[in-house]
Amino acid sequence: MAYTHVSVGNVGQLTVDLIITTLNLKKVASIWHPAIIPFIGGDPYQVEVDNPCTACELYTSEALKIAVIQLRSSIEPRLALDFFALLRTDILNLNISEIVILTTVFAYELHNIESSHFCYISNSDTKLKKLHISPIVVNEFGKYVANGAGFAIKLYELLHDVVKCSVLAKYVSEGDNRPDAFAMMNLIKELYLLEGKNSFPIKIPLSWNYVFGNPPPVGLF
C-alpha cells in the first residue's frame, strides 16, 4: 500500500496520480474525517465526470494487490493524531503487508549533490538499502531530520511497530515538480512493481494538463 500527503512540491500526490493512471487502479472508497481539509473537484483521471473527487480517496487493484491512498489536501494539526490513530486501526484491519509513505524534503537539505536525490526510513530489510539511497538521518535527540516532509515521519512512527513500513522521500524544490514525480515513479517501478517483469510505459493523468490552471482569458490580450 502506498500513502501520500502534502509536502514540498506535492511530489507524493503527483506520483500517486501516475500510479493510479499507469496501473489503472479503481476508486473503491472515499475517506472522510474532520481532520482532512475539505476539497471537492472534478475527476482528475477522466474527461467525463460521473463522480466528484474528494480530498482523500482509496484506489486499488485486486489483480496487482496494490492499494494507494491519495490525500489531495492537508491535515488539520489539532486533529491529526486522532486521524492517524483511526488510519492505523483500519490499516491493521485490512491486513496490509507493507506500507510505503511517499513524501519529499527540501532540496537544500541535500548536502552532497552527487549522492542519490532520494532518502528513506524503513523497519524492514527493504530493497531500498541496495540502491545506494541514504537513510534519513537521526539528530542528537533521536528524531528523524526530514524538513518539509509533512506528517510522513509522524505516521511512520505510529505504524512502524505494527506493519512493514517505509518512508520514501525525494529532495525537491517548489516549482514544476512533474519530473520529480517521474523519477519517484521509476524508482517505485524498480522496487515494487516490475519484480522481473518487462517494463511498461508510465501514463500521464488528465489532470496534469491543468497543473498551472487554465489558460488566461482571451479578453486579457
Binding site: 472515499s30 493524531l81 509533512g150
Partner: protein, 206 residues
C-alpha cells in the same frame, strides 16, 4: 538580501517540523439547545457573507434562529419541514468539526443542499457564460465541500452550488440568479433583494 543569508523558500509543506502534535481535545461549541432534529425534508447549509445576506433578506426575513452556537458561528433556522444552517467562518473550529456536530441533521434530511459563493475572478474555466453579473456552477471548497464529502462518504445524495459574483455590492440584478436557484431548490422567496446605499465609513473620497 545579505550575502550568505539563508532565504527559506515558500512551500506547500504547511507542517512545521518542530511542532509537536497534541492529543485532540474536543471543545464545546456551546449550542443554546440540544441538537436533536425531527423530520427534515430539505437541509440547506449556507456559507459566505453574500449568500447569508441573501438568505436573511429574502428567505428568512424576521425569523429567529431555533438554535445557535456563537463560538462556531452557526445559526439554525426552521422553515416548516426544512432546516437552514447559516455558517459564518470562525477560526476556533475547523469545518470538519462543524459537519461532525451537524451530523444528526445531515443524516436525517431527505435532501441536502450546500450553497456558497466565490469571486468571479476565481472562476477557472473557458466556458464562462456571457452574463458576467452572476452565474451558478457546482463544485467548491470550504464547509460546503466538507458537507458534500461527508455525503459522498456515506452514500448520501447532496447538491452543491457555488455562485460566482462580482465583488460589487449585491443588488437586484446580481442577486437574481441566486434567487432563481433558491426557488428551484424548494425555498420560498419572501422578498426580492434591494440594495441599500450606505455612506462610506471613511471620508477618503469626500
Amino acid at each position: 538580501m545579505v550575502f550568505g543569508e539563508l532565504v527559506i523558500p515558500t512551500t506547500r509543506a504547511l507542517w512545521d517540523d518542530e511542532e509537536e502534535l497534541q492529543e485532540y481535545v474536543q471543545s464545546d461549541m456551546e449550542w443554546e439547545h440540544e441538537l436533536s432534529p425531527d423530520v427534515i425534508d430539505n437541509l440547506y447549509v449556507v456559507d459566505t457573507s453574500t449568500v447569508i445576506k441573501l438568505f436573511e433578506k429574502c428567505i428568512l426575513t424576521d425569523l429567529a434562529p431555533v438554535n445557535r452556537s456563537k463560538r462556531a458561528g452557526v445559526r439554525i433556522y426552521q422553515l416548516k419541514q426544512d432546516t437552514v444552517v447559516l455558517y459564518e467562518h470562525k477560526t476556533e473550529f475547523v469545518s470538519g468539526e462543524i459537519i461532525q456536530s451537524l451530523r444528526p441533521f445531515i443524516d436525517k434530511a431527505k435532501n441536502v443542499y450546500g450553497i456558497t459563493s466565490s469571486p468571479i475572478a476565481l472562476y477557472q474555466s473557458n466556458d464562462a457564460p456571457e452574463d458576467f453579473t452572476c452565474f451558478v456552477r457546482c463544485l467548491s471548497t470550504g464547509i460546503t465541500a466538507n458537507l458534500m464529502s461527508y455525503c459522498i462518504h456515506n452514500n448520501r445524495g447532496c447538491q452543491l452550488f457555488i455562485g460566482y459574483v462580482e465583488q460589487a455590492p449585491l443588488d437586484s440584478i446580481n442577486s437574481e440568479p441566486f434567487l432563481r436557484l433558491f426557488g428551484e431548490i424548494g425555498l420560498e422567496i419572501k422578498s426580492h433583494y434591494n440594495m441599500i446605499l450606505q455612506a462610506p465609513s471613511n471620508n477618503l473620497y469626500m
